[in-house]
Symmetry: C2
Subunit: 399 residues, 2 copies
C-alpha cells in the first residue's frame, strides 16, 4: 500500500537529526570523537545502584512497579522540591512535575502552546533536541543574537518589540552547543524584559550542576517566577538512561502540561523515579557530584589549554565555566563543514556548529567540541589532530 499518503502535513517539518547521522559515522574504530554529547559512563554512580534498587524494593515494594500519577512519584517530587530549593526555586512537592527526560516537557510545552506559524524566540545557536521537540508543531523561529556572555538582552528586547511570540527558549547556563553562560547582570535584565513584555520564558537548565570554575548564578526562574517554566534533569548528575526530567511552572501551565503528558506516556517509569528518590533522599548526589566534577574539570581544562596553545590565528574558543562543550569559531570564510572530512581523515570527529542554527546561512565557521567522553591525554591528541587538519586545509586553500 502507499504509506506516503498517510503522513500528516506536519511531517514536512520533521527530519532525521543531522548529528545523529554524524555520530553513526564516528563510531568507527580509530577515530577520536569530540562529536558526542553524552555523559561519560564513568560518571554514573554504579557503586551504589545495587543498594539503591534494594532500598526501593524494601521501601516501596510492588508500588514501585505499578501505574502511578502522571504528575510524578510523590517521594521523588519531595526530593526535587528540596533540590530546587537549593537552587533558589521554592515550590512545594505538589507543584513539582516529573517527565520522561527534559525532552518530555519540551514536547509537552510545544504541544500545549504552538499553533502552526506561532513564533518562538531562541538563542542562535540553540539546542537541537529542543528543535526536534518543537518542529512537529510547525512554529516559526526568531533567532536572537548571542555573544560570550550569552543572549544579548537588546536582541531579546528588539524581538519582543517587533514580533508576537509564544515563548522564549533559552539554555542560560553552560549552553549546548556553546558552553557559554548568561551573566547575572544579563539575567536581571532579561527577567525585567520578560516581565515588562509579559512573555513566557522556557529556561532549560540541564548543566548548571557541572560547574568547574566561577561562582553559581541564579536561574532566571528565581528572578521572574511567574514568567518562567524552569526545566532540569537528572541525566547529567545521576544517569541519562533512567530518563528523569522535571520542571517548575506556573499552576495554570503545569495543570495543562500534566494533561498533555497523560496522552503521551501516562507517566514516567515509577521504578526509575523511586531510584532517583532514593538517590536524592540518601544524599548520594551530594556525595557523588564532586566525583563527576573531578572527572570533567581536568578534561575541560585540558581542552581549553590545548586549544589555546594550538589553534591557528584567527580561531578562538568561547569562555566556559562548565557543562560538556567548548565552542570554537574560525575566521570569516572558514567552513567547518569542509573541515569535517579532513578531520575524519586525521582521526578526529566534531560537530560543525552550522547544525545548531535555525538559519542555514549562519554558523559555517563554528564547531562544537565535547570533552566528557575522552580522557585528558586523548583530548590533547584530538585537539592536535584537529588543528593539524585546519592547517592542512588553510595551506591547500592558499595554493
Amino acid at each position: 500500500m502507499d504509506y506516503k499518503c498517510l503522513l500528516a502535513d506536519r511531517t514536512n517539518r520533521m527530519q532525521a537529526n543531522a548529528i545523529r547521522e554524524i555520530l553513526k559515522v564516528v563510531a568507527t574504530p580509530g577515530i577520536i570523537s569530540l562529536a558526542g554529547g553524552i555523559p561519560s559512563p564513568e560518571s554514573f554512580p554504579m557503586d551504589i545502584i545495587r543498594t539503591l534498587t534494594q532500598q526501593v524494593l524494601e521501601k516501596y515494594k510492588s508500588s514501585a512497579f505499578q501505574y502511578d500519577l502522571t504528575e510524578g512519584f510523590l517521594p521523588l517530587r519531595e526530593q526535587i522540591s528540596i533540590l530546587l530549593g537549593a537552587r533558589g526555586i521554592n515550590i512545594l512537592p505538589d507543584a513539582v512535575n516529573i517527565t520522561s527526560g527534559s525532552q518530555g516537557v519540551l514536547d509537552a510545552i510545544a504541544k500545549l502552546t504552538i499553533s502552526k506559524g506561532d513564533k518562538i524566540a531562541l538563542e542562535s545557536p540553540t539546542y537541537l533536541g529542543a528543535l526536534s521537540a518543537f518542529n512537529p508543531y510547525e512554529p516559526c523561529y526568531i533567532p536572537m543574537e548571542m555573544d560570550d556572555e550569552g543572549l544579548v538582552p537588546e536582541s531579546l528586547e528588539l524581538v519582543l518589540k517587533t514580533h508576537v511570540i509564544k515563548f522564549i527558549y533559552l539554555v542560560p547556563t553552560f549552553q549546548n552547543p556553546t558552553g557559554r553562560s548568561l551573566t547575572l547582570e544579563r539575567r536581571i535584565k532579561i527577567a525585567d524584559i520578560i516581565q515588562r513584555h509579559n512573555v513566557l520564558l522556557v529556561e532549560d537548565d540541564p548543566y548548571s550542576s557541572l560547574r568547574y570554575k566561577g561562582d553559581p548564578v541564579p536561574a532566571i526562574k528565581t528572578l521572574a517566577p511567574d514568567h518562567v517554566i524552569y526545566i532540569s534533569t537528572l541525566s547529567k548528575v545521576f544517569a541519562p538512561g533512567l530518563r528523569i526530567g522535571f520542571y517548575a511552572a506556573p499552576k495554570f501551565i503545569r495543570e495543562w502540561l500534566v494533561l498533555v503528558k497523560q496522552g503521551v506516556d501516562l507517566h514516567t517509569s515509577t521504578f526509575n523515579q523511586a531510584l532517583a528518590a532514593e538517590y536524592l533522599a540518601g544524599k548520594h548526589m551530594d556525595a557523588h557530584l564532586p566525583r563527576i566534577i573531578d572527572i570533567y574539570k581536568p578534561r575541560q581544562r585540558a581542552m581549553t589549554d590545548a586549544l589555546e596553545r594550538m589553534l591557528p590565528q584567527g580561531f578562538s574558543c568561547a569562555p566556559s565555566d562548565g557543562g560538556m562543550f567548548l565552542w570554537v569559531s574560525g575566521p570569516k570564510g572558514f567552513n567547518a563543514l569542509s573541515l569535517y572530512d579532513k578531520a575524519i581523515e586525521k582521526g578526529v570527529a566534531f560537530v560543525p556548529g552550522h547544525f545548531f542554527y535555525t538559519d542555514p546561512e549562519q554558523g559555517l565557521e563554528t564547531m562544537r567540541l565535547n570533552y566528557t567522553m575522552a580522557d585528558v591525554a586523548t583530548i590533547e591528541i584530538a585537539v592536535e589532530k584537529l588543528c593539524d587538519a585546519i592547517r592542512d586545509m588553510q595551506r591547500r586553500e592558499k595554493k
Copy 2:
C-alpha cells in the same frame, strides 16, 4: 500574566480523562472499586525482581544507564522478536521498536498521520487512552458497530465505502472496555476488507496473553502484515510501572515513528528495557504468566457467575474469554450515570460505559466492571451491592 492566550488551538480538544476523576472519588475507604483498570500488584513477579536487577548490573553494567537508541535496547528487541514469533508475527529484532508504554506509540502514530479533521474509524465503545493520544491532533472519529463477537465487519466495510479514513483503530482481543473479542471468522473478513480498501489498521493488543478460556485467535497482523501496525505491552504480563510497550509496523511507518519518538522522549528507559530483556530471556515470563492467570481467572469466573445469578431481568453481561473487564448492558432507558451515585452509596464503584463512546448520545445503559483488583469474595459482595443499587433505582422509578 495571562496564560490562557498561550494555549494552542488543539487544546480545545483536550480535557481531563473523566475516568481519572471517578478514580479519585473511589479511593475513599469502604468503597469496593470495580472502576479501576490496572493490574493487581499481586500479579507482579516481585520474587525475581532483585535477581533481574543483579543480572542487568552484571551483564550490561553502566550501559544500562546510558543514553540508548530511539528504536529500543537491542537485547530487548531480540526477545520481543521471539515473543512476537510465538504470536505468529515473524519479524527480525531490527524491525521491533520499543516505546514508553503502548501509549507512546499511540501518540506517535497520531502525530505522524493525523492532520486536523482527518478521520479515524474505531470500535464503539473504544479505549479511552487511545482517544487521549489522538485528540490533540484534532481528528474526526467515525464510530463502528460492535456486537458480542467484536467489530461488525459490515460496519467497517460501510465506513470505508463512505469515508476517506487515515486509519482504523481496534482492540480486537478482550477489548477495554467490553472484554469482547473478534472471532477468527471476522478477523479473516476484516483482513480481507483492509487489504481490498488499502487502509491501515492499528491493532492494539495489550491483553491477549490474559486468556482464561477458549482457544487463542491470531492477530489480524498475521493475516494482513503490510496493512497493520501491531502494538502490545509488557504492562499486563510484567509490570506497568516500567512503561515498556512495543510494536511491529511496515518499514516506512516504523522509520517515521522512530523519528517522531526522538522528539518526544529520545528513548525509553534503558535500565527498564534491560530488566525486561532479562525477564524474557530467562523464560521468567513463561513461568510467571500461568501464575497471573491463576489470580485473574477465578475472579473473572466469580464476577460472571455473580452477575448471571443476581442481575435483574433485562440486564446482560457480554461474553468474555479474558482480559480485565466485563461489560454489562441494561435495558433501553436505563441510565448508568444515574446509577453511579446510588452504587457509591451502597459502597461499590464502576465506570459508566457512556464515557467510552465518542458519540455522547450512546452507551448510557452500559457499565464497565473491572475484576483484577478485588478477590473472589469481595467481587461477590460488590456485584450484590451493585445489583441492589439497580433494584433500588428501578423501584424508585416505578413509584
